[in-house]
């Protein structure tokens, strides 16, 4: 029991941070809806695993990564915004999820597995899961630090970066795939419906801090970590669904950040010589 608590706090710190960082970048690139298609691809993958009796994580990751990979090229091919492609895939995956769940053998709807899928659960946290998280953490951190100059340029203005010879398409695809990995992993704890809380709320809170892009991503990372670990602790203490607790923790942090930013502004105004 104690080990599970420690493991889930570690996972919370890792997964929450990843989602926070990815959320801040996607927000800047106006890709906020990609989470919908990727999260629900993972959901559809998990549902298919229920039907087939296969491993849920593997199929979820497979579906999510396929989505993340085809999103960019699909938008380029169809010549419609990524956001829209994302919502189209989202609808498709929901349709598939329902079909898979209903055609699963036995009384699946009542089982713990479906609950885990929808609301998330700390029971999903196993050593292999933490290993996946750690690997993703290292990859994302390395990508951000090694290529920061180009990523910053891309986040400022894609067209200008492209005009200067940055291979924006590759960077965009990599960011999508990274986002896909972070979302799929977080999904195991938060569930398919509440993974959005970790993507949007820390990103919104970090924008309150009025820093430059690097600090916004770092702050979002930190706030995501804090939300997820606090939420998981709450979930343990009060035996409530993990996803709901994480969302509530994130909302409390957003409120705190907003109060802080207002205080800072009013203090700065008062502190000015008259």
């Amino acid at each position: 029991m104690f080990m599970l608590l420690i493991n889930s706090i570690i996972s919370g710190i890792l997964a929450g941070g990843l989602c926070g960082a990815v959320g801040a970048m996607c927000n800047r690139l106006r890709l906020t809806t990609i989470a919908f298609s990727i999260a629900h691809a993972a959901l559809a993958g998990s549902a298919l695993a229920l039907t087939l009796g296969a491993d849920m994580i593997s199929l979820a990751i497979l579906f999510a990564l396929i989505s993340a990979t085809i999103l960019g090229p699909l938008a380029d091919q169809l010549r419609i915004p990524l956001d829209l492609v994302s919502m189209i895939l989202f609808s498709m995956y929901n349709a598939l999820t329902f079909i898979f769940i209903l055609s699963a053998p036995g009384q699946v709807l009542m089982t713990e597995s479906v609950g885990q899928l929808l609301w998330g659960s700390v029971l999903a946290i196993r050593p292999t899961y933490i290993a996946y998280l750690l690997l993703t953490f290292v990859i994302i951190l390395a990508f951000l630090t090694l290529f920061w100059g180009k990523i910053n340029s891309l986040l400022f203005d894609i067209k200008l970066a492209e005009a200067e010879g940055v291979n924006v398409r590759i960077y965009k695809y990599v960011i999508l795939i990274i986002a896909g990995a972070a979302i799929t992993l977080a999904l195991r704890m938060t569930g398919g419906f509440l993974v959005f809380s970790l993507l949007y709320i820390p990103a919104a809170a970090s924008l309150q801090l009025q820093a430059n892009m690097k600090w916004i991503i770092a702050a979002s990372w930190l706030l995501g970590s804090t939300s997820a670990s606090m939420g998981l602790l709450m979930s343990f203490l009060y035996d409530l669904p993990a996803g709901s607790c994480i969302t509530i923790a994130a909302l409390i942090i957003l409120a705190g950040a907003s109060v802080y930013s207002r205080l800072r502004v009013s203090l700065a105004v008062e502190g000015r010589p008259r």
């Binding site: 200008l160 005009a163 200067e164 430059n212």
Partner: protein, 238 residues
């Protein structure tokens, strides 16, 4: 004039560009050769195709017909190599106040685009500050880009273009928000210095702001066509 494959900075041969879904080309059957080290002024009314021409040269728009070479590189095949030697200042570029990027960071991006993995050395940062200083923007270096005025944002973007030490500089109505004093400083000091270093400048303008300029070639556009090319005998000091 030097001979060989790189005598021209820009070569266009029967180039036509269509916007997606449009039946009419935005530029049509363009044939141009621009000498290395020249200042080409592109003029014409709104909608003449000036912006489209620049973006086609940079490979941002793909022509449906024709052949393009920029600094000896074929577009779009070798576009990344060509772009590494170019700098571009887009028309009407403005960002809202809350942009989380400082002026200095925006200029630094001009170098990051060219450097391996986007990393900058101390020397690069000194270049960034020198470029800011050249345009009198050093005191705004740490201000958020979006909180600068339109003209100041244009100067920062020009600083970003210059810090790249480009071989081909493409400027799309760069003076629209810049005051008269800065404008004449750029035209009389900055441009000649660039030309002396062998840079080629394509300058788009739709009005008399170009009166101060002494271009070596004037390209007049209308309805997507090149209407007239005037080659002038300008002596650039070497």
């Amino acid at each position: 004039m030097e001979e060989g494959p790189n005598r021209y900075a820009v070569e266009l041969e029967s180039v036509s560009t269509y916007y997606y879904g449009e039946k009419r080309p935005a530029i049509q059957n363009i044939n141009l050769k621009i000498d290395v080290g020249s200042l080409a002024l592109i003029i014409g009314p709104n909608g003449a195709g000036k912006t489209t021409l620049l973006e086609t040269v940079l490979g941002l728009l793909r022509p449906r017909e024709g052949r393009i070479k920029v600094l000896g590189y074929r577009i779009p095949k070798e576009v990344l190599k060509a772009r590494a030697l170019c700098a571009y200042l887009p028309q009407d570029f403005m960002k809202p106040p809350m942009e989380p990027f400082t002026a200095r960071e925006v200029v630094a991006m001009g170098l990051a685009s060219n450097s391996f993995m986007g990393m900058l050395s101390d020397d690069d940062w000194r270049k960034v500050d020198r470029s800011l200083e050249l345009l009198g923007m050093l005191e705004y270096a740490n201000k958020p880009f979006g909180k600068l005025s339109g003209g100041q944002q244009q100067k920062i973007l020009l600083a970003r273009a210059l810090v790249r030490e480009p071989k081909l500089l493409l400027l799309d109505e760069p003076f629209s928000a810049i005051d008269q004093k800065t404008r004449s400083y750029i035209v009389s000091e900055v441009f000649p210095d660039l030309l002396r270093k062998g840079c080629t400048i394509l300058l788009v303008s739709h009005d008399s702001e170009s009166l101060l300029i002494n271009p070596s070639v004037i390209i007049r556009m209308r309805d997507g066509f090149v209407e007239q090319v005037i080659i002038r005998n300008v002596h650039v000091a070497h």
